[in-house]
Amino acid sequence: MIRFVDTTKIYSNGVVGLKNCTVSVEKGEFVFVIGASGSGKSTFLKLIMHEEVPTEGEVYVNGYSVHNMPRSEIPFLRRSLGVVFQDFRLLPNKTAYDNVAFAMQIVEATPREIRRQVPLALGLVGLSKKAKAYPHQMSGGEQQRVVLARALVNNPAVLIADEPTGNLDPKTSWEIMNLLEEINQRGTTVIVATHEKDIVDTMKKRVIALERGEIKSDEQKGLYFNEN
């Protein structure tokens, strides 16, 4: 489903984002990607969605070769993914509802499908009451949940989430994680980059640990290793 083959990403300023990374994630898996700040978690996820391209090596996602992809295919790769961005990326002059609806409009869903799916997705993340609010009228946690609703609404094969609980209190964090697990149980592959030791330790999922861009460990039912 997702495969990195000896992938290296060096940014234009010479900083190493990811180094000689070989790993694969199968359909239906739930994977945590952990590591200190700057260890390359976001880089890992950005390579999957072609926000960044590898300097060396290969990346395969849902049957696409991301490392040498024609421009015209990029939108279709991205549509096969649901992405929760670390920096949200909501459209500032659209309401929560319209932001979620937008993801359906670009795949040319019918207005009826949109009217049915969008409230469902907003309800799932517990945000029905904020449907008419604009991003700047919402808290960080609320915006995060809109992003999650947008990522889910088209039922993607793979959901990637970059610190989806970064701005939430512990209770809400758990709600989100339970939601991700539920989505995973319905067959979606889920990849989550996170810092949350408690959650990783409790959920006992596969854990890929990064350190300075390299994979330090990759364990089933893993625990969160000390960041130091």
Partner: protein
């Protein structure tokens, strides 16, 4: 692309005009100013061209018959002229009889001594002929010369030199106007695409986000193009109103100047008859400038 998507994108483009009021205003004003200058230039060109054309048309071929021309010889000439009138070469003509010629010269020359030798009988009869197109003049004059009644040596007059001067001037003038129009259009496209580029730049983050959630380029591009086209059209309409007001005012001023200098052969065109043409030119230019301006400015932000 499905119909509902096209409708959605058109609506998106329209509402973006409201949402980015300041930028829309700036873009519209740029269109208004650019088209206003374009229009004034165009109106000046139309005025000068029509005036020169009408001067050309007013040039007359003057034909003097021999003093001794017979009635038959005279009839030959009249027949030819009228036949040419039916053929569409001659626009109109008038004759001056021997008597009229004598009257005219008598009222001009008050001094009776000079008139002593002159009688009605030794005055020539003459024709004043306006052609529909000065291009016909050469053939027409050649043919006239062959008639025995026509005084071929001094009898045919046509202000060819003046005509050529006018035509030369018109050619240069048209060239200058074309050059000015091209320069003006380039400046306008530059200004407008720059203004629109600002609106696009302010929204490049938005464009990026759309790309990151999987939107096609066309999905992002079309609202901007619709927005550009609408801005172009609104600008064109406003500029048209401004132009009609300014031109009517200018027309009044110039007309009163012409009258006070007794330059009554010159005339300033009314706005009414050219209004539709001007409006069409404005709309087309506005739409093209706006659409292309948007297209150019959105293009480079799509590469993420």
């Amino acid at each position: 692309m499905k119909i509902r998507t096209i409708r959605l994108l058109a609506k998106e483009g329209t509402s973006n005009i409201y949402k980015n009021k300041l930028m829309s205003f700036a873009s519209i004003m740029t269109v208004v100013a650019a088209l206003f200058f374009l229009g004034i230039l165009l109106l000046i060109a139309i005025n000068i061209t029509t005036n020169i054309e009408s001067m050309k048309r007013d040039l007359e071929v003057t034909v003097f018959l021999n003093v001794s021309a017979s009635a038959f010889e005279r009839e030959e000439v009249v027949t030819y002229i009228e036949q040419q009138q039916t053929a569409g070469v001659v626009a109109q003509y008038r004759t001056e009889s021997k008597e009229q010629a004598f009257e005219n010269i008598r009222s001009e020359l008050k001094n009776d001594d000079l008139l002593k030798g002159l009688t009605v009988e030794n005055m020539p009869e003459s024709f004043y002929i306006k052609l529909t197109n000065p291009a016909f003049s050469d053939n027409f004059i050649e043919k006239l010369k062959t008639f025995s009644g026509v005084n071929a040596d001094y009898g045919i007059g046509y202000d060819k030199a003046e005509l050529e001067k006018l035509e030369g001037f018109l050619k240069i003038f048209n060239f200058v106007i074309m050059a000015l129009l091209v320069v003006l259009m380039i400046i306008a496209v530059f200004l407008i695409s720059n203004t629109i580029r600002l609106t696009v730049f302010a929204r490049r983050r938005e464009i990026e986000i759309m790309k990151y959630v999987g939107a096609l380029d066309s999905f992002i591009r079309w609202p901007f193009i619709v927005e550009g086209i609408l801005i172009g059209f609104i600008g064109a309409a406003l500029s048209f109103l401004l132009t009609s007001q300014a031109y009517t005012w200018l027309q009044n001023v110039l007309n009163s100047i012409l009258i006070s200098f007794r330059l009554t052969t010159l005339s300033i065109l009314e706005f009414g008859p050219v209004a539709l043409r001007i409006f069409m030119v404005y709309s087309i230019f506005g739409i093209i400038i706006g659409g292309i301006g948007s297209l150019l400015s959105v293009r480079k932000h799509l590469n993420v």
